[in-house]
């Protein structure tokens, strides 16, 4: 498979500099909060933004080399799927796809199940259909790399699950480097083998979704992957005291002000204190209970636990009721010292 390379790319943005070195072999998800510069990375690769420094290329082709090479967007073979899809409103679905290239258009209309919409204007399509047209159009270009800008954010929650599964299948079958941008860690984990976290124009961490969850480089990555963040103080031992006096055990010794990451699925909830004294326990009234399909988030003090709807009924939990959140010391990770990093 080909490889997209960004080397020392430096692009001045309004609030900060984007600085990035990244190699994209299979599918890489660039995640981060909005305003982190994710879209600017895609625009730089596509030739719609011009970095101040750095090199961008695919295999032997150099698309950009600051001051020397700047191939115009129409001569870079890039398939860019825009956030709101940017379909041409005055052209039919078929004309939109053929705009990218005529050779594969018919085949792509079939493959994306949009042949029956071929004569329609994009204004009449649903969100999922628009996305398929946008993907077909980008692939009709016969690109060397595929760039997806927030491919799922324009969809409602219901459509999103279906489209995500479709996209997953498509990306697995593509023999192309794919760089996709999202602010949702769950989407990134579902679609990409590698996740790179971009904050304020700089890469915080790159790795497989599992690695990011297991060993988040800092508090931001931890909270981004869904962890609870607890602020506390340690004095060189494996014990950390939180602001409310609760003492928690951690796996490795730490000192000074620290941030602990605990994943909701590592936390159990009970109405009685747990018998196992080796467990970390946070006690307090239940602050909120929110159901997400079959899973339920229960928040006790600073900790959210994820339990099944069945457990919720079995325990008979209600908001305001005193309860206990318990988790192992090995699942309590020390991720950052608050003052040393710029956790935003």
């Amino acid at each position: 498979m080909a490889e997209l390379r960004l080397e020392d790319v430096n692009l001045p943005l309004r609030a900060f500099q984007l600085e990035l070195t990244l190699a994209v072999g299979a599918t890489v998800a660039l995640v981060g909060p909005s305003g982190a510069g994710k879209t600017s990375v895609l625009r730089s690769v596509a030739g719609l933004a011009r970095p101040a420094r750095g090199r961008i290329g695919v295999d032997g082709d150099v698309w950009f080399d600051a001051g020397r090479v700047d191939v115009p967007p129409d001569r870079r073979r890039v398939g860019l799927v825009f956030q709101e899809y940017a379909l041409f409103p005055h052209l039919t679905v078929r004309q939109n796809v053929e705009f990218g290239g005529k050779r594969l258009a018919g085949e792509l209309l079939e493959r994306f199940r949009i042949s029956r919409l071929a004569g329609q204007r994009p204004g009449k399509l649903s969100g999922g259909e628009r996305q398929r047209v946008a993907l077909a159009r980008a692939l009709a270009r016969e690109p060397q790399v595929l760039l997806l800008d927030e491919p799922l954010s324009a969809l409602d929650a219901h459509t999103k699950t279906t489209v995500r599964a479709e996209l997953q299948e498509l990306l697995h079958g593509l023999e192309l480097p794919v760089l996709l941008v999202t602010h949702d860690f769950e989407d990134a984990a579902a679609l990409a083998g590698q996740v790179s976290v971009l904050v304020d124009g700089k890469l915080r961490q790159s790795g497989s979704p599992a690695e990011l969850v297991a060993r988040p480089a800092d508090g931001f990555v931890a909270s981004f992957t869904g962890a609870n963040l607890l602020h506390g103080h340690a004095d060189g031992s494996t014990r950390v005291r939180l602001a409310d006096g609760t003492v928690l055990a951690v796996a490795e010794p730490a000192s000074g002000d620290v941030v602990l990451a605990v994943y909701p699925w590592d936390v159990t909830v009970g109405v009685e204190p747990p018998h196992d004294s080796a467990l970390n326990v946070v006690a307090g009234p239940i602050r909120t209970i929110s159901e997400l399909g079959n899973r339920v988030r229960v928040t006790i003090g600073p900790v959210s636990a994820e339990i099944t709807a069945e457990s919720l009924r079995r325990l008979g939990l209600r908001t305001g009721q005193p309860a206990f959140a318990a988790f192992k010391a090995t699942g309590t990770r020390v991720v950052a010292v608050p003052h040393s990093g710029t956790v935003s």
Binding site: T39, G47, P72, A86, P89, F99
Partner: protein, 274 residues
């Protein structure tokens, strides 16, 4: 509340009656039969031909030069941008007599470019070409302003998408930007055509009022009205009909544009930091 309703109703009635009265009066004096009969009057016919020809050529020039100018002003920001926009809009507020004097001072025999032109064997003032120049000068802002607005209203993301799909700047302009802006451009064309057709002040100063050569419909009205008021009325009737047609076309063009642009828009292209 009732008094308020009454007063607004009354004021609106007076205003509308005031605006309608001159139009009604023209047609009260000229029956449709007389109007058509007057079209065979050589003065009217000649003026009609001169008007149509000069306005058509002026429109062609306005579209050919004004469209690229509008596109540039809509899509690029450069030092002196505001100056260029002011220059484009100036003829709109300039008294036509001033425009006429200006054109004479520029292209007249003793004007700025007069020497150059006569060296090339060209004498502009008081020719049909002069009418075209005057019309183009006065009518162009209406088209260019509307065209700038139309180009600014097209989603820049669509042009970006076109580029990444392999279309160069020219193909992007003709296949994406122009079709999306066409309603606004048509509206601008209708406005500037109507303005050009009614041009009087700059034309009479720069081109004179010579039957068959430079006498346009408005100039014919002026020439006829103390000799043959009926003819003047008939010519006016023709212009009223043309103006109403233009306005109808304008409405059509604008609704065309707005029904087309109600589609996907995004801020993608507007912000480089997201």
């Amino acid at each position: 509340m009732r008094a308020f309703g009454l007063i607004t109703g009354l004021a609106a009635g007076v205003a509308l009656a005031f605006l309608a009265l001159p139009i009604v009066a023209i047609f009260a004096h000229t029956s449709p039969g007389h109007l058509i009969h007057q079209l065979s009057n050589p003065v009217v016919r000649d003026a009609f031909v001169v008007s149509l020809k000069t306005t058509a050529i002026a429109q062609l020039l306005i579209v050919l030069l004004g469209t690229p100018a509008a596109y540039l002003l809509a899509t690029r920001r450069f030092a002196g941008h505001w100056l260029a926009v002011t220059l484009v809009e100036l003829p709109l507020v300039l008294p036509p007599a001033v425009a006429g004097i200006g054109l004479l001072a520029a292209f007249g025999r003793l004007g700025l470019l007069g020497g150059t032109l006569s060296a090339l064997g060209v004498s502009l003032p008081f020719t049909q070409a002069a009418v075209t120049v005057a019309v183009a000068y006065v009518a162009s802002p209406l088209y260019i302003r509307q065209a700038i607005a139309a180009f600014e209203a097209t989603d820049p993301t669509l042009a970006d998408a076109s580029r990444t799909l392999g279309a160069g700047p020219a193909r992007t302009f003709f296949r994406v930007v122009l079709p999306l802006a066409r309603g606004g451009l048509a509206a601008g064309l209708a406005l500037s055509f109507a303005r050009g057709l009614g041009e009087f002040g700059a034309t009479i100063m720069f081109a004179g009022s010579l039957q068959k050569v430079t006498q346009t419909l408005p100039l014919a009205i002026y020439a006829e009205f103390d000799q043959d008021f009926d003819t003047a009325l008939a010519v006016s009737g023709v212009l009223v009909v043309v103006s109403i047609l233009m306005l109808a076309g304008l409405r059509l063009g604008l609704s065309w544009q707005s029904s087309d642009s109600k589609t996907s828009t995004s801020l993608f292209g507007l912000s480089s930091s997201s």
